[in-house]
């Protein structure tokens, strides 16, 4: 499967999830998603647990608000009827199932490309060269920021401005840390843009490295995207 095909499949399936109005529609989406995830022949446990971990706190909050405090579903509030906690529970279940499917769809797509590097994935994408370049530079700068945080933190601890543990001193001088990190990153960015990259021809090399060589779509993309499209049509029909 190509990254383009995976993104198309993901967008169609997430659109179907967003448009689903009942648990039957969501069950159809789940069936397609599970088939896709199982076809990748990878261990789904971590993807399922991650998705559950994302949705569980939201579910707890929703249950507290809708079932515990409000005690009726939105359509009952709109109709001006007294409502019931059972209807509120059904509403919370529907919203949570939808959120779980969205989270799991992204994880299932990730699983497909778990052995790809970020650069290989971005290279295979069909997107404007500028967007691909900005994406790769962002990924590189995230690392730079994390290193800058590490260095600045160590330097400020040594200087006695902040401490390793939570303290009032950290609250007072926290802004010094933020400023130090920002200035470090800016200094690195200026150095790279003005001196390093032109000397090494980095951006020209990056353009060359990001030029897609693989086909945009594969046959298997059509299969999965077709399945997702049919799923979307069925969900629309059930609305």
């Amino acid at each position: 499967m190509t990254p383009n095909g995976a993104i198309l499949f993901g967008v169609l399936l997430i659109a179907a999830t967003g448009l689903a109005r009942d648990l039957t529609s969501l069950a159809i989406v789940l069936a397609v998603l599970l088939a896709f995830a199982l076809a990748s022949r990878r261990n789904l446990t971590s993807a399922l647990l991650w998705s559950l971990g994302i949705v569980a706190p939201l579910a707890a909050f929703m249950a507290l608000v809708w079932i515990g405090i409000v005690g009726r579903a939105p359509h009952e509030i709109a109709a001006g009827v007294e409502g019931s906690r059972a209807a509120a529970t059904a509403y919370v279940a529907l919203v949570c199932a939808r959120l779980f499917l969205i989270a799991f769809a992204i994880q299932a797509l990730f699983l497909r490309f778990s052995d790809w590097t970020s650069l290989a994935f971005v290279r295979a994408l069909t997107a404007p060269a500028l967007a691909k370049k900005a994406l790769v530079l962002t990924l590189s700068l995230i690392e730079t920021i994390l290193h800058a945080i590490d260095r600045a933190r160590t330097a400020l601890i040594v200087a006695g401005l902040i401490t390793r543990r939570f303290s009032a001193q950290n609250l007072r001088n926290g802004w010094v840390l933020v400023q130090t990190v920002w200035l470090t990153v800016i200094a690195i960015a200026i150095g790279r843009t003005r001196d390093k990259w032109p000397a090494e021809g980095t951006l020209a090399r990056l353009d060359h490295a990001l030029a897609a060589t693989a086909p945009r779509f594969a046959h298997v993309d059509a299969l999965w995207s077709g399945a997702a499209l049919i799923c979307l049509i069925i969900v629309l029909g059930l609305r």
Partner: protein, 205 residues
Amino acid sequence: MFTTPRLVAIALCAALNFAIGNVVYLVKLPIYLDSIGTILCALLIFPDRLAAICCAFMAGVIGIILTGLLLNPFLPWFVFTVLAIVLVSALLTGRATDTFRARPLEPLRFFGKVILYGVITGIASAIVSAPVVVYLFGGVTGSGSAFVVAFFLKAGQQLLNSALLAGLTTEPVDKTLQVLLAALLYRATPREFISMLRLPQPSPT
């Protein structure tokens, strides 16, 4: 429009959104702080408003895509909120760049403009976010604002109204904080970097 320094600024601001947004999300603070890079990008590229809109939107979208893929899969649904924040930042907040960089700092003007533009950004953001919060999350996003939603629902308001009113009470505070941090970072940015982001002016001769 997309010169190499601007491309670096986009990447830097997207990375900033990702890094700060992640920290805030992981420590479960009742605020978002995930648009500081977007606002900062607009301030850095101002007064070229069109470039500021395009670059800041690109930074915001890359930020939410990365955060959406790696941490919070629901963030990409708020792409129109990013657009609203970009428009307010590039068309309004950018007007205060002189005040934000004035030396010595004029506290009254500085904080006055931060609060004014922060509140406007918050209102725009709340209006655009409300339909997504209602449809995707059923009005409850897992932050402290959920209790504000519950309060309005209990008072007999409809769901969309409740989510909007809750957004209007919480978003201006969050966005004022974001504009403040973006303005302080903008103030701390070396002049050399900002001049690199300006397009070379043609010589009068």
